[in-house]
Symmetry: C2
Subunit: 130 residues, 2 copies
């Protein structure tokens, strides 16, 4: 018999550092579909993984709609030619988008290095030993 472990909503909010409101909101938005025992939500490991991926999407600036779309694609990939081509185009665009973002991040990391160096310089001026 499988373990069939369930997570409670608060367990997951603690693990991921989000509120219950957020997880309920994601359910309202159709991103997740936890089981129910009565009215209480029961989250399975698959739900937990999905939440992790949703939050990853959130961190890099995906909207709820975009995240929903990606989930949808995984659930039932389009069978029709036109849909497939459209999807591939959108994937390509997103890729470009993310590459730009990665470059933005690298540039900003460099900028942060500069700021930090300037700080160290000032500290030295003031006469603080680092």
């Amino acid at each position: 018999m499988p373990v069939n472990k369930y997570y409670s909503i608060t367990e997951l909010t603690r693990e991921f550092g989000v509120s219950t409101r957020t997880l309920r909101f994601y359910e309202d938005e159709g991103l997740i579909h936890p089981e129910r025992r009565g009215r209480t939500r029961l989250f399975r490991p698959a739900d937990r993984r999905l939440i992790g991926e949703i939050l990853r999407g959130r961190r890099i600036g995906f909207t709820i709609a975009e995240i929903r779309e990606i989930i949808q694609v995984y659930k039932e990939p389009p069978g029709e030619l036109g849909q497939l081509k459209l999807l591939m185009k959108r994937v390509d665009e997103k890729r470009e988008d993310l590459r730009q973002k990665r470059k933005d991040i690298d540039d900003t990391l460099t900028e942060l290095d500069n700021i930090e160096e300037a700080c160290l310089g000032r500290l030295a001026e003031i006469g603080v030993t680092t």
Copy 2:
């Protein structure tokens, strides 16, 4: 004599793909300070560069407040010890944040590759020659 070129607001909105509302909003928020001839805004090359940096910050999810803060630091770096230490701490946190984001992006790029491959697979099934 220097060129002393000015850009009009629409020139810049076209270049950066934003609306005039956005640039005026950034001025209201104290991020940029274009000159004026009468009521009309005149943007100098330095303003133009700054706008580029603001939009880069926006792309990677910085809030207006954070962007303003960074600009402020460049304009007048803090001289007081406590302020400097605080700034360095915040720089460090941001760096961690950005590193996480870059990892998120890399993971997502891999995911996009998977989706694309799945698409190509389906196309082959349907019998389309790529």
